[in-house]
């Protein structure tokens, strides 16, 4: 076991400082050191997308990074999406309205992927939505309601 290393990250706007083993995965750091268990882990080999977070705005897979690599960066997780406790964001609401989740395990990763996608592509086609989602696996829904939810959210966001 190697010596612990200091890490400072901002997560959803709050700064956290911890001493961690260099081999600690960022996903484990978020979930088990910071207690932010909304970010899920489905494979730990970078395929399923359940662990997707945003690092300085870009969607990344937190299972493919070490916590120490996030030092000095700003992270956003699913816990930070809602505008206030007890309320949901437009995207989250669209997911509920379109029944875009069943077990909900893949959902946080998908929300983080899509939140970044809609910032870049505010008026997507179904084809573009399907491409954006293709790196996130969902075993429950068959994707159709997720696609519907993303299109619905895009429309609501455009219409303000």
């Amino acid at each position: 076991m190697s010596a612990r290393v200091a890490v400072t990250v901002s997560v959803n706007g709050t700064t956290h400082r911890r001493e961690v083993e260099p081999r600690l995965l960022l996903s484990d750091f978020l979930r088990h050191e910071l207690g932010l268990t909304g970010t899920h882990v489905g494979c730990e080999h970078g395929v399923c997308g359940a662990c997707t977070i945003r690092l300085d705005g870009a969607p990344v897979r937190s299972c493919l990074m070490f916590a120490v690599q996030a030092d000095g960066h700003a992270i956003a997780t699913v816990e930070g999406l809602a505008p206030a406790p007890g309320r949901l964001s437009v995207l989250q609401e669209a997911f509920r309205d379109a029944h875009a989740l069943q077990c909900g395990y893949c959902t946080p990763g998908i929300l983080m992927t899509v939140s970044a996608f809609l910032e870049e592509t505010p008026d997507p086609t179904e084809e573009e939505v399907r491409h954006a989602l293709s790196g996130n696996l969902c075993r429950c829904t068959g994707y159709q309601h997720i696609v519907d939810a993303v299109l619905l959210a895009a429309r609501r966001l455009r219409e303000g």
Partner: protein
């Protein structure tokens, strides 16, 4: 009834928590002083264990315990048999259940050999590398037919061969039917292994509270009550001393019900022994080896028809791969055997199966649970028969459908619930007609396909029928209570893995009690809240627990009306129950809320009158005498690229009858998800094994699940023939989507590439572009 909640597309009560990242999954449980377990697993498909040396692992800093089979003492014993063999004359069943840790011999890759418990998962995994096991590899069996060859290596050395079970069932007189037949169709079919791959792997956390003398276990199980009862018995505790919680579960699909997975026996034992909480979360690699699989079967089947294409009889003989142990009994092959009869009037049937031990991961039901094999066999036989008799594929099906006036239709053989297979209700021709219209069958044949062919494009259509036995017993229960706040709580013993029970069951309560669906708080899967029940499987949650919920809510409704009638000193018939209150009809200002009535029903002074109970609460149980049979037709149009053999689905139509629909939005989700898994099974997912029993594609990068680019938009239609077997008229819907897809792909691809004209038929699932290439180019 004042308000209709049943049948409405209500959005889900559970979603806000899930969307905000606030829902509790098993791996989210963090407890002070918690330890972490990791398992050393066999790298061999079959080997003798000569010795296990754990000294170095025990010496590693941070390691708290290393456990081998020897260390378990009297706790080491094979797990229980989950489902006993069916009461069928002549049944052979050889029970060989899995053990908590291998002793002397390992029988499949991934079988646990030792458990390490340490201060962190990282340290526990480091310590696995310290353990030295001396294995002497033994020859392994993988292939089903090779396993039965004379002199084949034996998975269980104490048995004379690898046969785990043998069952024969018959209806009518097949030999006589065959003798009369104008036409016989005989084929061989093969279905290969796949895996359910829920996005959340299995996991378990156990904590022993020495002061309260209680064990609490969080488990990703689909059957928390049964796990609680089993753990209490194994650990020598009273059932009231054990609480099992199945919190939010990230998908189940069948394999999360398997009493007992070794880890499920060992983690609670370790927590008790060590006096500290212990967590184990399966990683994805472990999941591929250690969580059950399904699907390996080989069928030899024969269809006897008269000259008009009417079925006179079917004979089927099949082998089914059960893996290294058989704790789940014969549910999967019985489903295959029964579901082969499908929606057709088949007067004679003779079926024999043998379950076969192999040196592979155990097999237990996975969504569809053997039903797709039966459907694949009969639908493929009908396709071949239609061709040989010069009949349209739809016409041959139509001629054989069970007509609507023949229900209940008795099939005479025994189903997985051990009741005689009986279809309760249905209108199969209506399903077929709706599907034909939706897929525009005639126009496809007369215009679309010829036009595409003229352009050199390979367009094909598939259309297949299926039935699904759902909602089987024995029973579930539900407890409904009006809280003083006016909210209503419902507790039931089933677990939930995304099926929307928090909403669907709330709708059933709201329907009776005239409250808002959002004001019904549902608890499932916590044995401290409700501890009678069996679990979520066989598309039974909404049917059986739904019926129990209905009965309990109706009983509470009766109590509410009685209490209100006493309060107002009026007749119950004059009362209206709506919007969370009871009022006098025509006098809306004379009203009392449910919350106030609940308080009145639990007074602090005065006595509870003899024969009455305090509160507005009722518990009811429901056990259907047999399962309700859902049915449907799937149709699709695909285009196959002649060079790459990659199919693109242009249209996908589902017409489904699951009786009364509780929530069409949630039902649509169940069907779409089922079809997606069916597509994976038909065209993407195959577990690939080496000769010596190694699984070669145990990662999500190599075992391909369908993505958003692979699953098409689906068009859903419904017909409704309510089930007479339960008060709501529901039939299960959880597995239906997945069942017919293999047969559908085979037919559509044959059609697209016009394979039969070249003497090629598709007789196997799963396919893939490369496997299809081999088939098309004569690779066997």
């Amino acid at each position: 009834m004042e308000t209709r909640h049943i049948g409405r597309a209500v959005t889900r009560n559970e979603d806000a928590r899930l969307l905000a990242g606030r829902a509790l999954f098993v791996d989210d449980v963090e407890l002070p002083g918690m330890l972490h377990a990791a398992f050393l697993r066999s790298p061999h498909a079959h080997a003798e264990i000569r010795s296990v040396d754990v000294a170095a692992a025990r010496a590693r800093p941070g390691v708290v315990a290393v456990v081998t089979a020897e260390d378990l003492g009297a706790y080491w014993k094979p797990g229980p048999l989950l489902v006993p063999p069916p009461p069928i004359p002549g049944v052979v069943f050889r029970q060989r259940c899995q053990v908590p840790l291998a002793r002397g011999v390992v029988r499949h890759v991934g079988e646990p050999v030792a458990m390490v418990v340490a201060e962190s998962r990282y340290i526990a995994e480091d310590a696995l590398a310290d353990i030295v096991v001396d294995y002497a590899p033994l020859p392994a069996v993988g292939d089903l037919e090779a396993a039965l060859a004379p002199g084949a290596p034996r998975v269980h050395a104490d048995l004379p061969d690898n046969i785990a079970a043998e069952v024969r069932q018959a209806k009518g007189d097949y030999a006589a039917a065959r003798a009369r037949a104008a036409h016989l169709v005989r084929r061989r079919f093969r279905y290969d292994r796949g895996a359910s791959i829920p996005m959340e792997t299995r996991g378990i956390v156990a904590a022993w509270d020495a002061k309260a003398d209680r064990l609490t276990v969080w488990d990703t199980t689909q059957a928390p009550v049964v796990i609680r009862n089993g753990l209490a018995a194994m650990l020598g505790l009273a059932e009231s001393q054990v609480r099992v919680v199945a919190p939010f579960i990230g998908g189940g699909f069948g394999p999360k019900i398997m009493m007992f997975y070794p880890e499920e026996m060992l983690v609670p034992w370790a927590a008790l022994r060590l006096g500290r909480p212990v967590k184990w979360i399966e990683d994805r690699l472990e999941h591929f080896f250690a969580t059950t699989h399904e699907r390996g079967q080989i069928h030899e089947a024969e269809l006897a028809l008269d000259a008009e294409g009417r079925i006179l009889g079917v004979r089927d003989e099949f082998l089914m791969d059960t893996g290294a142990y058989d704790p789940y009994g014969l549910t999967v092959p019985l489903n295959s055997q029964c579901t082969l009869l499908n929606c057709y009037d088949i007067p004679a049937y003779e079926s024999r199966f043998r379950a076969v031990f192999t040196n592979r991961t155990l097999v237990s039901p996975y969504r569809g649970a053997g039903r797709q094999h039966g459907i694949f066999v009969i639908e493929r036989l009908l396709d071949a028969a239609a061709r040989e008799l010069g009949l349209d594929r739809v016409e041959i099906r139509r001629r054989n459908l069970i007509p609507p006036d023949r229900f209940p239709y008795r099939n005479e053989i025994i189903y997985q619930d051990f009741a005689p297979l009986t279809y309760d209700s249905g209108d199969y021709a209506a399903l077929l007609d709706k599907a034909l219209a939706a897929i525009r069958y005639e126009r496809f044949l007369s215009e679309e396909q010829p036009r595409a062919r003229a352009e050199g494009r390979h367009l094909g259509l598939g259309i297949v029928c299926y039935v699904e036995g759902t909602g089987i017993g024995p029973y579930e229960g539900a407890k409904v209570r009006v809280q003083p706040s006016g909210k209503v709580t419902l507790a039931t013993g089933i677990g939930t893995q995304g099926q929307g029970h928090f909403t669907v069951l709330a709708q059933v309560v709201a329907e009776q009690l005239g409250v808002d669906v959002r004001d019904v708080e549902v608890t499932t899967g916590d044995t401290d809240q409700f501890d009678w029940g069996v679990g979520t499987f066989a598309s039974r949650g909404a049917v059986v627990a739904g019926a129990a919920t209905h009965e309990a809510a109706a009983a509470v409704r009766a109590k509410v009306l009685k209490a209100a009638a006493e309060h107002f000193e009026c007749a119950e018939a004059d009362l209206v129950l709506a919007d969370g209150k009871v009022s006098i009809a025509g006098v809306p200002e004379r009203a009392i809320t449910l919350g106030e009535l609940a308080r009145l029903a639990n007074p602090l002074r005065g006595a509870v009158k003899p024969g009455t109970e305090p509160g507005l609460e009722a518990t009811r149980y429901f056990g259907p005498e047999m399962g309700a049979t859902a049915a449907g037709v799937h149709a699709m149009v695909i285009e196959v690229d002649a060079e790459t053999l990659r199919p693109t689905i242009h249209r996908y139509v589902v017409v489904h009858d699951c009786g009364t629909v509780l929530n069409p939005l949630i039902l649509a989700g169940q069907i779409q998800g089922g079809v997606a898994q069916g597509i994976g099974n038909a065209f993407f997912e195959r577990l690939v094994w080496s000769e010596d029993g190694q699984l070669l594609n145990a990662s999500l990068a190599d075992y391909l699940l369908p993505t958003s680019l692979d699953v098409p938009r689906m068009e859903l239609h419904h017909t409704v023939t309510p089930s007479p077997l339960n008060p709501l008229g529901t039939k299960g819907a959880g597995e239906a989507g997945a069942i017919p897809v293999g047969a559908l792909f085979a037919q559509a691809i044959e059609d697209a590439l016009d394979l039969p004209s070249r003497g090629i038929e598709i007789a196997e699932i799963p396919l893939s572009p490369s496997r299809l290439w081999e088939i098309v180019h004569g690779g066997g």
